[in-house]
Subunit: 196 residues, 2 copies
Amino acid sequence: MTTHHMETLGHFKITVWEEENFQGKRCEFVMECSSIMERGFRKIRSLKVESGPWVGFEYPEYQGQQFILEKGDYPRWEAWSGNSAYRTEHLLSFRAIKCASHSDSKVTLYEGENFQGRKFELSDDYPSLQAMGWSTKEVGSIKVISGAWVAYQYPGYRGYQYILERDRQSGEYRKYSDYSTQAHTNQIQSIRRVQH
Amino acid sequence: MTTHHMETLGHFKITVWEEENFQGKRCEFVMECSSIMERGFRKIRSLKVESGPWVGFEYPEYQGQQFILEKGDYPRWEAWSGNSAYRTEHLLSFRAIKCASHSDSKVTLYEGENFQGRKFELSDDYPSLQAMGWSTKEVGSIKVISGAWVAYQYPGYRGYQYILERDRQSGEYRKYSDYSTQAHTNQIQSIRRVQH
């Protein structure tokens, strides 16, 4: 076991169950899981994050809708899914978010693609970007300077979730399809830091 | 018209529609509405907050589930409802939140009722109270020192929402039924400031 493995073991732990309310088949993870079906699960219906944060994905191989999973108990799918219109009860892969820092997070939003147009640098949570002065409902591109962020389709941290990390593609999300592969919309109306 | 009215007109504005995506019958409000049915609406299916924040309620007379409404567009009920388990599509009354201050908000959480037991003073947003060091999933009582807050049943700002204001009952929520009248649970796993 390498030093890297040891560190990972110390920092991240998630337990998943096949049934709601932490019932039925269970499994603990300290590393990422690219497909829960390969562990003999049909689906995940409840989970506990003992140390995080993690990001869950609708499909295997980290594809589809994203679900931010910070420390705490998630007894049913609606505890992690913010998008009840497109009602998926799938959470089939997940991985740790290693660069989260609640106290040192910076992100710049740009009106246009490729970091063009009006911009705004944030280091705090904003449940309403419009209230902060952002004039549209859309964000064209995003540069994460430090930490990890989660952006949402609707105000008040609702709707589709987009996890944005300094560690992924150098923190550069040049067009909306870089962050919103699953949603086919560039609407972002709230954004917040991810908590370690 | 009194001075108080003039101030209210300048600070708060919400527009509601009877159908999704801002269609059908519409009405603008700059003051609270204790029953949308009295305005001839059957229900509200979409809304825009032009200046806020507001709090919406499931039932007339500010009863039932609470929904925080900050500046932005809410094209469907899932944009404001964080609780898909108990699927209510009702939002039948609403009022402005006058004491919100994103930059000056303080709240103290207590383990026991009547401000007893272990306590924690917060002035920032916490998507996971457990990650911050709060050892249980419950909060016994809450004292709002300044501003307005919204507490949530689940981590990551999901599930039942509880609006907590300095201006209401002197900011003192002595037992869980003071803040959670509709939910019959004292589970709080995340909390954040309300944005003006």
